[in-house]
Symmetry: C2
């Protein structure tokens, strides 16, 4: 009990011991009394490690808690067993960097996300997908391409509050980046598309975006012999490969290559202690300590789950499910390249990264954080800007010409 009190005191005063355990490093962001059961109430509610872990499993399954957190370690800490402290200490002493123990809350970005079995990645398909991504002729007006709103010069989005589409119409939500989007569990702010393939069908047809139809897209592509050949190569063995389904498959395949390695933070995670500044390391520590990590975790710093963010009139996932529980629920956005994808939030209403950090802390974690800390966290987030692959940025020379 004395130990427990010490831990709580440390957390509350904002000082993190060098031997801090899972609770302080990972759980206390949410489990601080205002938003979730505290350590004390948890121990009263679940009488054994087994009960606790069963409850955690259920909570992760319904999306109440992120599945990627170190629950076993937290259970050890709460109910006894191998202590997290011991673990942490042994890890910390293996590195000269005092911040290195925070690394275990993060995951390096793999080269590629999971490739779906029904849409294998081939060079031919990626080449075709890239051409389609850049081709404005997929839109009704022939003006708007995927790259118009997901501009690979501008962090894979468009710097707009909400994108400007067909006939200068605007939608209500901010365009998320296509960079690293293959790592997201679901697509769109409300998660209404389970895959990049399904996602791509949206903007192509949306009245306020490209305003096209599968018929227009297929007809225009079939008129261009070079495209017909490229579809044959990308979808070998298919009798009539120029289909809307294959268009979105090719675009999704290309998008799965839009991953941004080599950010300072990636280099830091992979062992280059000098890749982050002292400020950024402090920011990383605060990111863990305040509990941002609770939702923003995994290789792209999104748990892929839905969380309540009552911000404006947008009802979020409720608009998809009509389930009252989903009111104001939004999928956690990824944070890679966040420094180059302002403005922020689903309505693009906030321009400053520091301000976005403070609002998130207040609304999602129930914490007021200082300008100084917000600045450090924002500096850490700026270390997440990676390199868009060169090959993806080479504009294709698109075939065909004669407009209808």
């Amino acid at each position: 009990m004395k130990k427990l009190l010490t831990v709580l005191t440390l957390t509350l005063t904002g000082v993190l011991s060098a031997n801090a355990g899972t609770w302080e490093l990972s759980c206390s962001g949410c489990h601080n009394g205002s938003l979730a059961p505290t350590k004390t109430t948890l121990l009263k509610k679940y009488h054994s490690k087994r009960e606790f872990l069963a409850a955690v499993r259920k909570a992760t399954e319904v999306g109440k808690m992120p599945s990627s957190l170190p629950f076993e370690s937290a259970a050890d800490e709460l109910y006894g067993g191998k202590t997290a402290e011991t673990n942490t200490t042994s890890k910390a002493t293996t590195s000269s960097d005092e911040y290195s123990k925070y690394k275990r809350f993060f995951k390096p970005l793999p080269a590629l996300p999971k490739i779906p079995a029904d849409n294998p990645l081939t060079p031919e398909k990626v080449k075709l997908g890239k051409m389609l991504y850049y081709d404005p002729r997929l839109s009704r007006s022939k003006l708007i391409s995927c790259n118009t709103c997901h501009n690979l010069s501008l962090g894979g989005d468009d710097n707009q509050k909400s994108s400007i589409g067909h006939r200068w119409r605007t939608g209500g939500r901010n365009a998320p980046t296509t960079l690293n989007s293959g790592f997201l569990r679901v697509q769109f702010w409300d998660g209404r598309a389970p895959t990049l393939e399904e996602q791509a069908k949206g903007p192509l047809q949306a009245h306020v975006e490209m305003n096209s139809t599968p018929k227009i897209v297929v007809r225009r592509l079939k008129e261009i012999p070079e495209y017909v050949e490229l579809f044959k190569k990308a979808f070998p063995g298919e009798k009539d490969p120029v289909t809307f389904e294959n268009v979105v498959k090719a675009i999704a395949a290309f998008e799965r290559t839009l991953n941004t390695p080599n950010s300072p933070f990636q280099r830091y995670l992979l062992g280059d202690d000098s890749a982050l500044t002292k400020e950024q390391k402090e920011g990383m520590k605060l990111f863990v300590k305040y509990g941002c990590i609770a939702c923003h975790n995994g290789p792209v710093l999104s748990d892929g789950q839905f969380h309540k963010f009552k911000w404006n009139k947008d009802l979020g996932r409720y608009r998809v499910t009509k389930n009252p529980k989903d009111k104001y629920m939004f999928r956690t956005p990824q944070l890679l390249n966040v420094a180059v994808t302002a403005p922020y939030f689903h309505d693009g209403s906030v321009n400053s990264l520091e301000e976005a950090v403070k609002i998130m802390a207040r609304k999602e974690l129930g914490k007021e954080i200082s300008n100084e800390d917000a600045k450090k966290i924002a500096d850490f987030l700026r270390s997440l800007t990676g390199e868009v692959p060169l090959e993806a940025r080479v504009l294709p020379q698109l075939p065909g010409n004669n407009p209808e």
Copy 2:
């Protein structure tokens, strides 16, 4: 006189002798009785070679005739002296290709156009210019970049009749390609800008295009420290280098690198007889024979002069000069990459290259040409599609983020 009659007969029947002279190959396209003095009337008007050449010089100075034609050779032919026939024959026999004698009417594309003394080309300036060319934040809406309407994926233009700009407004004229535009003597369909620098000021500010102002452009760029640094490097020694004048200088510098070598026709001109098909060589011959070459000459197949094309209500250059003589006058468009820059003419009203060829022949040369010949000329024109430099097509990763 007997010889003259023979030549005229050959021209009129459309059969070109293997020993055809300058007149048949070059002059007879215009000087066929309907649009310009014939050989007979010229000999009556100018009594000596000297008089003839003086008149020609005057005509080229005021833009009535292209300056790049072989006038000396024509004078020899008209007034005696070294005959063009001899010349042509000797050239023809040095090559195994029966079409090679037509090559002398064309010029290979130099690596770079003339660089103005007040805007030297430096790697730093071209790099900056490329970023500005691709940066939509120069437009009021932050949606439209130079590349929106001059898309380097689509032949340096946008496949639209007339471009869609700010708030979905459209102008009245078709966007010309930026490719090889540094070789043009004047810019815009009506020649209202003498340089690429002056040209760039137009779309940036036009109400129906980017709708920006020098003030907006400079303010936004100054807000991005990386851009300020790049301007310092591109314009060394200047105290306050982020100016609108320097913005257009950098864009123009980049545009002067947008040249497209390696087209089949360029390779043919440089000695690869196999680079053109038989059809395309026939088309080249017809291009000369029908007189297209009279206006479409020089390295980008534009004489840079103004010619009357009464096509719709657009008064052309008259709108700039208010001189009644300039009514319906338009600058000859270049023809490099014409196959990928449909639709055609200043109003983008024609989609088919064959149709455009037939209309030009009818309106500008007073000739009805067969579908077969139009197809051959269009095939020749398709051999003018070159390669957009790779470096120009690599999308920059643009600095800065926070929108206003």
